[in-house]
């Protein structure tokens, strides 16, 4: 019972004579929304075509749903075959304990660094010079999503950048359109980073997140960012906040809300609803202000399986790792997920306009800024999130106090 993956795999191997090298591999992830599960289904489909079986273990909610389960199971000696996990320092403990499979030989054999659009993506997977995870896509929060329907209502053209968008808020309010659609909870956490890099500029972003330069936080450039953040806070009516980001997508398509800053995965929701960019919605990467955007990837880890695990299962891990970055899987997965692929040597002619904009950025040198999640520990990130949540909810929280608190966190950041 305990080593279910193993037993099941052995049973499967014994029963099926046709696929000699077949194994069942349990994969845990927290991709449960419409677009997300459509995307992960592509991985599963391709994996099953290799003769192996993808055993799906979806757990909604990364922080409280999936994370404790994934870490506990690896720690307790009942690991899954593969798992999505937050990159960066979260996985370090498990890697140090020798519980995560070292993928360096595979990466070298397959020449991953040669075809990855930005080998910097591996930074988050690298520990002590070795590679422990496979980034499968590039996600970015740096998108301003706009509802064409909402702008029709007020008879204005759809804004071309953040400043035009801000200028349209009063007219939107007057027409009874929610200027900025917002989902409760974590959906807020990505927005300040976007404002920092796009309103403040990439240099400021790097000074603060990479060099942890507290003086940069106290600079006039950062004040502009904080003021933009405060302006956004003041235009959002807390009573209009909806439960999930998928609900915001629906608001935009219905023209009930005009805009939203959210990660590219919201496109998956647009796609599920059958919407196309340029018709029902529009997208501005870098808020229309910059052509360098910050991006980080979702990544898969492969736990070290208990001793005595059948070779089939270990092979299945390898098969899956290779498959995740293959051209076919990258196209199929990312078109559904709405994220950028990790390689640009693939045919994305079926990609929609938004993703094409993203790929142009990705192809340009230095187009991709390293993600805040990689530069800051999740501990620092949590402190920033706490600060931003508090600031956003309390309209009397002054910009000055915000800057001071922010600087204090950056001073002690790691």
């Amino acid at each position: 019972m305990k080593k279910f993956t193993v037993v099941a795999a052995m049973a499967a191997a014994m029963m099926s004579s046709t696929a000699a090298m077949a194994a069942e591999l349990e994969v845990t992830h927290w991709w449960t929304s419409g677009g997300e599960s459509a995307a992960v289904a592509e991985f599963a489909r391709l994996f099953n075509e290799t003769g192996n079986t993808w055993v799906d273990s979806a757990l909604a909610g990364s922080g409280t749903g999936a994370n404790p389960v994934i870490i506990s199971r690896i720690l307790g000696g009942d690991p899954m075959g593969a798992t999505q996990m937050n990159t960066g320092r979260d996985a370090e403990g498990l890697i140090q304990a020798g519980l995560i499979r070292d993928l360096t030989p595979l990466a070298e054999e397959e020449g991953w660094k040669d075809f990855y659009a930005d080998p910097g993506l591996f930074d988050a997977c690298t520990y002590d010079g070795k590679i422990y995870c496979v980034p499968v896509n590039i996600h970015s929060w740096h998108w301003l999503w706009l509802s064409t329907g909402a702008y029709e209502k007020i008879g204005q053209p759809v804004p071309k950048d953040w400043n035009e968008y801000v200028a349209s808020w009063p007219a939107l309010r007057e027409a009874g359109v929610v200027p900025f659609g917002l989902a409760a909870g974590w959906a807020l956490n990505g927005i300040p980073g976007v404002l920092l890099a796009d309103v403040g500029g990439p240099d400021l972003y790097m000074k603060i997140n990479k060099d942890h330069d507290a003086e940069a936080v106290r600079s006039p450039e950062f004040r502009k960012v904080a003021e933009a953040w405060a302006a956004l806070r003041d235009v959002v009516d807390p009573a209009e906040v909806v439960p999930q980001f998928g609900d915001v997508a629906n608001q935009l398509l219905a023209g009930e809300a005009a805009g939203n800053i959210h990660g590219d995965w919201i496109q998956g929701e647009f796609a599920v609803a059958g919407a196309t960019p340029g018709v029902e919605y529009d997208c501005l990467p870098g808020l229309g202000l910059t052509d360098r955007i910050e991006g980080g990837g979702d990544a898969f880890y492969f736990p070290v399986l208990p001793e005595g695990t059948a070779q089939d299962v270990l092979d299945a891990q390898t098969t899956l790792a290779k498959l995740l970055v293959s051209k076919e899987a990258q196209v199929a997965f990312n078109l559904k997920k709405g994220s950028m692929p990790i390689r640009t040597d693939i045919d994305l002619s079926t990609a929609n306009d938004c993703m094409k904009k993203a790929i142009t950025i990705l192809e340009s040198p230095e187009g991709l800024l390293p993600s805040g999640e990689t530069l800051n520990s999740s501990d620092t990130q949590q402190q920033l999130d706490d600060l931003n949540q508090e600031f956003f909810a309390d309209k009397s929280y002054s910009v000055d106090d915000y800057i001071e608190e922010y600087a204090a966190i950056i001073e002690s950041a790691d």
Binding site: G63, A239, E240, Q383
Partner: protein, 314 residues
């Protein structure tokens, strides 16, 4: 009914009168009983004491996602006490806790008194008051989130009926969100308190009522001055159960408000769990849980010594 709250004293084992040796006392006497109690002893020693010491120890380390950090002294505590979110969480719990405790106890007691008036359909009413206790905090939070959501729930319904200025936005209002929590929490917990109180009321000798009536004491004074003090035992049990539930409040907050808007409904248990599983800072999380536990100790230990400690012979 002479011995409420002192029942331990009457239940001494018969052998207590003999004066056997120490070793005999520890290992041989009532050996079956000791074996039978050993699971409990093991659980207390290994889990409740062992794991608590474990968590206290790692609160002095810089452990990240796994318990393997280096000793850093009081650093985690210094950070904890300078964290605004922790201050907000602690204050929230104090406010919510006091209101919730008073509210559930008072409402539970009042409902029990009403239920004790030889009502028709008593079983039916009691089931109605008690059923929320069968639901998890997550479900409770979800349902009330829906009812209190301004755009979906009560507010929009009443506005739809024509009272367009009606406002009920507690759940999205930083000043009122704790009371929204209170509405859901009270709904969930009072039924259980009512049942306990009702049980207490019914254990009281009918003679008391007769005597009170003969003396011409008004009903409300009988309840307040005679019945309530006699229910001390049940009140103590209820306080322990309700209190431990309040300190651990987590599911309900996550489902109802997820700590928001902003940080205005954050609670300590959520701080602990967030830092443990989302922020990957075990040291900080365990420092927070140690402080929680210490606070509980400070409040409870003096009372426990009086209540459950070694008793003098009667």
């Amino acid at each position: 009914m002479t011995d409420i709250g002192r029942s331990g004293a009457v239940s001494r084992p018969v052998e207590a009168d003999k004066p056997p040796g120490l070793l005999y006392n520890i290992f041989v006497r009532n050996i079956t009983a000791k074996i039978a109690a050993s699971p409990m002893v093991a659980i207390v020693l290994i889990v409740f004491i062992g794991c608590t010491l474990w968590s206290v120890w790692f609160s002095f380390t810089d452990s990240r996602s796994l318990p393997n950090g280096d000793f850093v002294g009081w650093a985690q505590y210094e950070r904890l006490f300078s964290a605004r979110r922790w201050k907000i969480s602690a204050t929230n719990l104090l406010t919510y806790g006091i209101f919730s405790l008073v509210f559930t106890m008072v409402v539970g007691f009042l409902l029990a008194v009403l239920m004790d008036q030889k009502l028709r359909f008593e079983d039916g009413f009691r089931t109605i008051f008690l059923y929320p206790f069968a639901l998890s905090g997550i479900v409770t939070g979800l349902v009330w989130q829906w009812i209190m959501n301004p755009t979906l729930g009560l507010q929009s319904t009443i506005r739809g009926l024509g009272w367009t200025s009606f406002t009920f936005d507690w759940i999205t209002n930083t000043d009122m969100v704790l009371y929204a929590l209170l509405i859901a929490g009270t709904w969930h917990g009072t039924g259980f308190v009512m049942v306990l109180m009702l049980a207490g009321l019914r254990s009281i000798d009918g003679e008391i009522w007769k005597a009170a009536r003969v003396d011409g004491i008004p009903t409300w004074r009988t309840y307040l001055q005679i019945v309530l003090p006699m229910m001390r035992g049940v009140i103590v049990t209820t306080l322990v159960i309700v209190g431990s539930g309040i300190v651990r409040t987590y599911d309900l907050v996550v489902a109802l408000t997820n700590g928001g808007p902003g940080l205005s409904s954050e609670v300590p248990a959520k701080y602990v769990i967030n830092y443990m599983f989302t922020a990957g800072n075990l040291g900080q999380a365990l420092a927070a849980s140690t402080v929680m536990l210490l606070a509980v100790f400070v409040i409870l230990i003096p009372w426990m010594i009086i209540e459950f400690g070694p008793k003098k012979a009667h």
